[in-house]
Symmetry: D2
């Protein structure tokens, strides 16, 4: 479905007065220049939507479908992301998953995406499930497998994914491996690592020169004794051995309890090995909850490191890292959930942009811990939502995307169009 | 399939000499009387097999089937448990899950179980998934649901499960609820608890007088913000409000990181509110690994509390608590996995029986911490496998069940009989 | 030291215009009535300061003193709390620790506290350390000890603490026990619990009729295998057996990783067994960091449950629970740290007061999860600091307490008065 | 104190028959050759005792002294380790901590150690506490400090420690840093890391050519927001930048909850960056409990990786890594505790030596997960204590060190000699 400009305009008009008042307050408090600089950065900032987040997610105990209207094809997935992007002007990319999203007509798909203003973000391979027609099973791993033939199948699949992505204009391959073991003794850790490295080297060799290989890590699940790329140290070790085009991808839910993720982010940036992000939130493990829903201050602290670290390296916030949501949606309309995630991410980014960095550096240099805390809390406790809304307004999107989505009965329209019993590919 | 007595006899003969030597060593070291007393208790000790553990388990990322031969019907599940029981004489009960295991011909099923020497352990209800024909969804909970009609449906289901179990001779209903919430604000915790209590009271009212209602708790998953019966305190609070027939069920994998489970067990026994166990092992969460595969010392410490606490209360080890495995099997043959779990449980029980309790009490009374540790470690470091094997031998089962299972090519036989592409009901 | 009214007045005048603007914005956005109601509640809300938080804290690896001026006597501790209360009008109580704070002249102390506008909050006993003159050691526990004589010594100490508190006007005894064990086998869990219960019953018997016995729990530390009152379930079990005057005290840092504290709070309120709070923040364990410094959203969610639950029970927010900070200060001036903690607590309380409860209930009734999240986030993302500041203004305290503390060089004044090498009693 | 040979001989005679029977059983079961090979390796294996573990440890809540006899001087510490080594012939080295253990007469100390058969293991620097005469404070870190002068002081201290160690014959410096931060904003993570690297480079430059620089990591404590060398990835990153003489030191208690330590060990060995170990056990954090007291199977699995990995690299088990205990002793006699730790470590090493590696590799190659588990469990469940005892016997030490220590009333003798109110330096 497509939202008509007049609907957005009407919505913005209705909320316009309040919004202007809020924005003016920010200008009054923080200065027009600082506010405008932040807005410009917010306008440029885009968060990719993964194709598998558009349908109902599930757990191993089952899946509860939403009321319907899930995208049944790649075209419909692009439509859904286009819808989000119309609403928030911050979801200008889609991240595809192969084999769930193999385009039948590449040119047609590219044209559709272009119409919707969407780029193709990193493509994702899948060696954590067996495909119906695959001769060999990934039950005991893929790139780590003791059997070279299985590794070759997985390598070939990844190279195929690169080709698919290259055709669409993607510039990165994300490799997330479920590889690991469930029981002590099952695996020789060293061999598993070395096999994985060797496999990744072959994939790396097939990478176009302007591509990035994003090596994701995860502490546990679906293997429950060991994971072969379990933490940032293992991912960076691989990335260093692979070469400059290989980088680490951080998924916020992939850490052991109590990990200081913002420190990891800072160190990866320092080493020029941070490649990108999978945003979500969690309380226990890889819970894949809406970004910012449980630990919004952590999200802010991560962005605080990102802004500081990227600026220190002279990096372009919008372009030099890959930003993507990776969440699952059990109890919400997936599109509403994605709108909430994007909002929380943009807000954390806005807060990080507004931190008084000079004062913070000074407090750090003086070990004035209380003052450093004051500076961060002052920013976090301020209300920058109007900043994010103004970025949308300037990009012709909605001041309140979720509210407009509901007002326009978007889900009902999607159900009308696609039916009640739809299932999107995904977990 | 059925194992012929002569196969068991041959196996035992082959291993007999070594076994006798090992057993004699134990008698030499620990005294014949103590050894014989322990063996008698081991012979009596039975661990129920859950019907859903007989097929391949999975994670939310997918399921990797075993090579085939999974039980397709309740009859075949009973056959599988019968096979295990033939091998280890310690799996003399099956725990059914409704609606996956509704018998079509109750008398036939009872007869079959009787032939196999099996009892029907606790029956398990399922309100964590929607059933195809159910009018209302459990997406937002069952016994906790804000909508009374949903609660009524879930209550009626539980009462139906009691009836099914009653027909087969079960004496307990296990209620595990996935109920909880994924996001802050989703739930009013108090109302959710009160609704759950009210629902459980109605189920409790329908309980036959000689039945037990086992209230299971779980810290997290599949809900990732809150779980409505999240810990032993919440379970016991409910059990206390329900009455004497309601007790707490402990699943080893259902705790927050680092929880001291053995202490929980001791306190529940103290309060006469421990009802039973779901055995498995885990490193991260509800990993459902083979019992004793990761933390065997913890399993021993738990049995140490069980033996001490049950003896203090004058309870019958074999009969006064419900013992069940609850594990999932991703990378092993499920039957092999169950044999390994039972072996680990029996061994931990054997170790606990052999603890020098008098000396331990003395060390505790004197705060001789090093000595108390020595006593437990001495027992744990001793090799009591011959005790468990002898218990099997006396019950006409195999000295080494896993070895015999492999020697007889049991899986191949099951595949021959049932085919390669079988799927058992379950997760 | 004492702050002169004119200094506060001057400070408030300087910040007044900006404050009024901010307050007016809130009135514009939320309505004058709602704002005024919240301010009235904030004015009434007081958080007790523990006497041991006024000096430098430490870890087992050492203590780094602040530059000086720590309170050397009970009188100076009262002065320090008086100073905080002058600044924020929200620290109107002091919580004493016996034997660190035994008054030599009770009437003099009461008079001094009265002058400073301070009440005496819960008194705290100490059986986690040996006192120089104590005949028996708490090395192996106190109320749990296998030796009755040790238990009697600990009971007598607690009764003495009650007497001390009674003389000063306290109305509650907080019992935090380090009791537990470091190694498997060291303790019989059941006996330890029963001894503890028996000891607490004797202390309970000595409690004046209008007193509360607050039973604190803690998951681990300083014992590292088991703690005898380890979680809310164990604390509530004891409180239920003791009687109506016994309640559970929640310290935010005393939980296992990932615990849902807000749910625990809601259930304790439901059972009328929540007695009070020790506020602090933490990332790993009992880190005793400044309240709200790491997980401000969790603090808000806890207050959200407190406000909802107390209102449901018709409780008085300010009077019916005990509110106290329990934090340690390694790298900050302790008084600055306490000002930051109080500010964070007041802000979380203010946010919770402003939640649109009617809308939240409606969203919950409709299982509109996204909307429920929107409601909580809308409140949390709004900037209510002016509410808290206005409450201070109305109570003649400072709009920005930390800033005024620094402007007036309070620490330098304290050093001048007390010297550089002072050490406050405490950990 | 010194144990007379005749006392050991008498002890061994008393236990000799039983021991021989147990040893013969092992030979019968596993073959004389394999048993003898393992014994030879056990005889060669030595675990260093840290000088600070000889006195009572404590927590931040206090310290409970043992009954007396703690070593008051470096000489007495060497005597205590000598005593342990007489008893178990496996504690042939002492690890010193500067400034607690600065020798006044180096030659005298070397002579004494030589008499006791002790080597000097890694020396340990201390920049986590301020020393009385130090001009600058480590309150805000040492090697990471924003102030270059503080870094220089810490660097100079480490170089001084190297000199002290060099004089005694040590070959390694262990750097454990408490450096980190307690609050968000306190630290610029990148600068802290870079400062630390720069400081370590200067220390590395001062390292004798045959020395190793051991870079220890720790997840948290005493800083509770971030630690600057927090995990193996950060330690290895530093070690890689420093050079071949820099390696990572693994302390078992320094990880986040649920970390798979054995995998970390395997990967560090793979990278030739594992330098050594601090053994202890823990349930919650850096609990510093007796090795093997809580998770003996984990200790076995770690040794399983060590043996496999060192053999794959052609390393000498006894010489190519640094083995040390790092535990604290609150509730036990420290010497008894150390005897228990050494016993547990030796047993885990013995078990790892006895793993059927060929069969394990085969099972791994076939993804026979159940069989791989059987192999490890078979070894772990066997009783190899006689192996460890025989290694002691062959080295003229006691069959049961703890029993002999008690029989000879060693603690009473130490108290007689040193008095009741002794305090050893340490935490």
């Amino acid at each position: 479905m497509n939202i008509e400009h007049k609907d957005i305009a009407l919505h913005n008009e209705t909320l316009g007065e309040t919004h202007q008042r809020n924005l003016n307050r920010l200008k009054e408090d923080w200065g027009t220049i600082a506010i405008d600089q932040a807005i410009a950065k917010l306008v440029a900032f885009q968060i990719a939507i993964p194709s598998w987040a558009l349908g109902t997610g599930g757990t191993r105990f089952g899946r509860f479908a939403i009321s319907g209207g899930e995208p049944r094809t790649l075209e419909e997935k692009i439509e859904d992301v286009g819808l989000l992007h119309q609403l928030n002007a911050a979801s200008g990319a889609i991240s595809l998953h192969i084999p769930w999203d193999i385009p039948t007509d590449v040119e047609q798909i590219k044209k559709l995406a272009h119409q919707k203003g969407l780029l193709f973000d990193a493509v994702n391979s899948n060696t954590f499930q067996d495909q119906p027609n695959a001769p060999l099973s990934y039950k005991f791993g893929s790139l780590q497998h003791v059997n070279k033939a299985v590794r070759q199948q997985a390598i070939a699949h990844n190279i195929e994914v690169i080709k698919q992505g290259d055709g669409l204009g993607s510039k990165a391959l994300t490799v997330w491996l479920a590889d690991g073991s469930c029981f002590p003794g099952q695996l020789n850790f060293r061999n598993a690592f070395e096999n994985t490295l060797d496999s990744l080297q072959q994939i790396y060799s097939a990478l176009p020169s302007d591509w990035t290989l994003l090596v994701e890590y995860k502490g546990f699940e679906p293997n429950f004794y060991s994971t072969t790329i379990a933490d940032w140290g293992q991912s960076m070790l691989l990335a260093n051995k692979l070469g400059a085009k290989a980088k680490t991808l951080v998924d916020l839910g992939h850490h052991l309890p109590n990990a200081n993720i913002e420190q990891i982010v800072a160190l990866l940036l320092m080493e020029s090995k941070l490649g990108g992000f999978h945003f979500n939130d969690s309380k226990y493990g890889d819970d894949d909850l809406t970004a910012g829903a449980v630990k919004p201050y952590q999200l802010f602290l991560i962005f605080n490191e990102l802004v500081e670290g990227m600026d220190a390296k002279g990096m372009n916030h919008a372009k030099d890292l890959g930003w993507m949501i990776d969440a699952s949606h059990n109890v919400k309309d997936p599109l509403e959930d994605l709108l909430q995630s994007v909002e929380a991410i943009m807000l954390a980014y806005a807060q990080a942009l507004m931190v008084d960095r000079e004062a913070l550096v000074q407090a750090q240099q003086q070990n004035d811990v209380a003052q450093a805390q004051e500076i961060l809390q002052h920013t976090f406790r301020s209300d920058f939502r109007a900043l994010v809304a103004e970025a949308r307004l300037r990009a012709n999107a909605a001041l309140n995307p979720l509210q407009l989505y509901r007002t326009l009965n978007c889900r009902a329209q999607l159900i009308n169009k696609r039916g009640k019993n739809t299932t999107a590919t995904g977990l």
